[in-house]
């Protein structure tokens, strides 16, 4: 492989990887606080992509993005109120199954409301006009996505470590009952957690739709799985781990095809093999060793 080709692939990997990372941090944050895998995360991602599709038809793009993120976090709060809050005292497995139910519900609701016809997403042109360096071509988006991911991670860390609701979230992750006794409104903090997680999902959905400009009700399924793998590989519950896992997963996928073109049909399988191998050697994921210190 020539060095040009390798660098091109590196940038391809960075783009996919940081998109996975962006989805994975939402998964990981919700898990870190509630010890609960929100399987509907990928579908909130889809809803976010649709929201911006409709909002961008009437509003300038940045405003449309804000509306989409706001709409999706409201959706997350509603999902929590309807499908998770009634199961707060039930065994964790019930909430998990409820999440799978919500996932199917959102997909099929999407099918009914938006129809199955893929819609072309709005792409701000400056983000997708490639920059040419010799034979290497890079989209400005390839720099934008990691930047957005970094800003959101910093924002998230700030909320979790520097604000009072963040303190309550960390407290809930340790011991719900004691937190309740301290006078914290558990339901409000958990709703806030889902709102925040859904806002992250929507942000990911928006960036994803710019890179892959085609929106349909099942758009969140495969990215959702991949991001879940990324979160687990990185150590679920750890925000840094989710970023690392996402970038690693993107790199493995792209490089596997780049070095072994004849294996390109097994590209998705590489992701799952990576998951198995890492879990065999580090069952808690790459950055998940300190179990009790998860945010």
């Amino acid at each position: 492989m020539t060095s040009d080709l390798f660098i091109q692939n590196l940038f391809n990997a960075l783009t996919v990887g940081s998109l996975y990372a962006l989805i994975a941090i939402g998964y990981s944050m919700v898990y870190g606080i509630l010890r609960f895998i929100n399987f509907a995360h990928g579908d909130i991602f889809m809803v976010g992509a649709y929201f911006i599709f409709f909002a961008a038809a009437h509003l300038p793009w940045p405003l449309a993005a804000a509306v989409a993120i706001g709409g999706a976090s409201l959706m997350g709060i509603i999902v929590d109120r309807v499908a998770y809050r009634p199961l707060r005292e039930a065994p964790r497995i019930s909430a998990l199954i409820s999440a799978i139910g919500v996932s199917f519900l959102l997909e099929n609701l999407g099918l009914v409301v938006f129809t199955g016809l893929p819609r072309p997403a709005v792409q701000p042109q400056w983000m997708v006009d490639p920059i040419t360096l010799g034979s290497i071509r890079i989209l400005p988006l390839s720099f934008l996505v990691p930047a957005v991911t970094a800003i959101l991670v910093l924002g998230l860390l700030w909320i979790v470590y520097r604000t009072r609701p963040g303190l309550a979230m960390r407290s809930i992750s340790r011991d719900i009952e004691t937190t309740r006794l301290m006078g914290v409104s558990i339901d409000r903090i958990i709703a806030m957690t889902f709102g925040l997680g859904s806002a992250l999902a929507a942000a990911a959905g928006i960036m994803w739709a710019i890179r892959y400009p085609q929106i349909h009700p099942f758009i969140g399924v495969m990215p959702g799985f991949k991001a879940f793998i990324a979160a687990v590989v990185g150590g679920i519950g750890s925000i840094h781990g989710a970023v690392l896992g996402g970038v690693l997963l993107g790199t493995v996928e792209i490089m596997a095809v780049a070095f072994y073109p004849s294996m390109s049909g097994y590209r998705d399988a590489f992701a799952f093999v990576l998951l198995i191998v890492i879990l065999l050697f580090k069952p808690t994921g790459l950055m998940g060793e300190k179990l009790e210190d998860k945010i």
Partner: protein
């Protein structure tokens, strides 16, 4: 009093008899009305419905269409055919868009001995060795040869690459047939890469293909993936022409791919609402469609849906009775049937012969540039 009762009874009997005489012929339709193939399925259904409106009766009985959505899903296609046969007791079935779906539904129909006419399922295995599956469209070896002929002769391509969805029977088949014909025509396949349905990132595959510098990329995808493949190819600076199959025949191709679709070529069935030399039946169909659906252009899927219904009615008439076995025998003998796609005659494998249409995207519009007779 007794007399009145007798009279009422007689009247009732007459009504019942009339009811029997007015018995309906039930024809099932299973198409993808939702999911990734919804666009084609919807148009095919509208084609079937247009034909049913024109020919509402056969053998003096009313035709009742029973429509099932197979949701672009193999399992749902299987269930849809089962329900049509077991619950609705249909005598014949129309469907479907998508070879994978047709193969799944075909299993059930074959076991239950109910004839099916496929609309746009082009994989040879749909009808090969089957007694009860027929179709209104050509098959992929022929389509692949058509695409290869156009690439080698008209585009003068020497080197080709293929990019195939490995989880899709249609794509795997059509890709292989293109490859075989292109090599037979003296061309070289320089790269052969794969992906899976639902994938959205093709940059790794495309970077590899670009490095092999082919003249043409053959990509028998569905339009949803095809659109973003074209887009990513352009972003990565691809210089080759991209070609696809009939599944790319969709206005959304251009709306998703934007200017990346410029110069894209795909094969199709020989009907288009803007084709230059339209036969009389196609002209009549186009006019009837525009009267029925003023806001929608007819396309090739609509024409195939229409033709499928016409094939069943023709078979019903020649069979003389609405029984599955008789309809099956009559369908197999379909000869010179006048449809918007030309005169249809089924061969021993239940496939009609028709030329391969070529469509090119020019200035953001689909242009029917002509037809090729594949070099076998």
């Amino acid at each position: 009093m007794k007399f009145v009762k007798v009279l009422a009874g007689a009247a009732l009997a007459v009504f019942m008899f009339a009811g029997l005489a007015q018995a309906q012929i039930k024809i099932g339709v299973y198409l993808p009305l939702t999911g990734q193939n919804a666009f084609g399925g919807q148009l095919e259904l509208e084609g079937v419905e247009l034909a049913a409106k024109e020919i509402p009766e056969a053998l003096g009985q009313k035709i009742q269409l029973i429509v099932m959505d197979n949701k672009s899903d193999k399992m749902e296609a299987n269930n849809a055919v089962r329900r049509l046969i077991e619950r609705d007791k249909v005598v014949a079935i129309i469907g479907t868009y998508g070879s994978s779906l047709a193969m799944s539904g075909g299993e059930v129909a074959e076991a239950a001995k109910i004839p099916v006419v496929g609309t746009s399922c082009t994989n040879p295995l749909v009808t090969q060795g089957k007694t009860y599956y027929f179709r209104a469209c050509f098959i992929d070896p022929y389509q692949g040869a058509g695409a290869a002929t156009y690439a080698a002769k008209n585009l003068e391509a020497k080197k080709a690459a293929v990019l195939i969805d490995v989880s899709n029977d249609y794509a795997v088949g059509l890709g292989a047939f293109f490859e075989r014909s292109f090599i037979a025509l003296g061309g070289e396949i320089v790269s052969k890469l794969k992906y899976n349905s639902g994938d959205q990132d093709f940059t790794a595959q495309l970077t590899e293909i670009i490095s092999q510098q082919p003249d043409v990329l053959f990509m028998p995808a569905y339009f949803a993936e095809g659109g973003i493949i074209m887009k990513q190819a352009k972003e990565l600076g691809a210089k080759f022409r991209i070609m696809g199959g009939d599944a790319m025949d969709n206005p959304e191709t251009v709306s998703i791919a934007g200017d990346a679709a410029e110069g894209f070529i795909h094969t199709s069935f020989p009907y288009d609402s803007n084709m230059p030399d339209m036969n009389d039946e196609a002209k009549r169909f186009t006019a009837a469609w525009k009267a029925a659906y003023p806001n929608k252009e007819p396309n090739v899927n609509a024409a195939l849906g229409y033709a499928s219904y016409v094939m069943i009615i023709d078979a019903l008439k020649r069979a003389g009775k609405a029984e599955p076995a008789a309809i099956t025998t009559a369908l197999a003998a379909t000869k010179d049937l006048n449809t918007p796609l030309g005169l249809l005659t089924l061969d021993q494998d239940h496939n009609p012969q028709m030329p391969v249409g070529i469509i090119e995207i020019k200035d953001g519009k689909r242009v029917y540039v002509g037809e090729v007779q594949p070099a076998e």
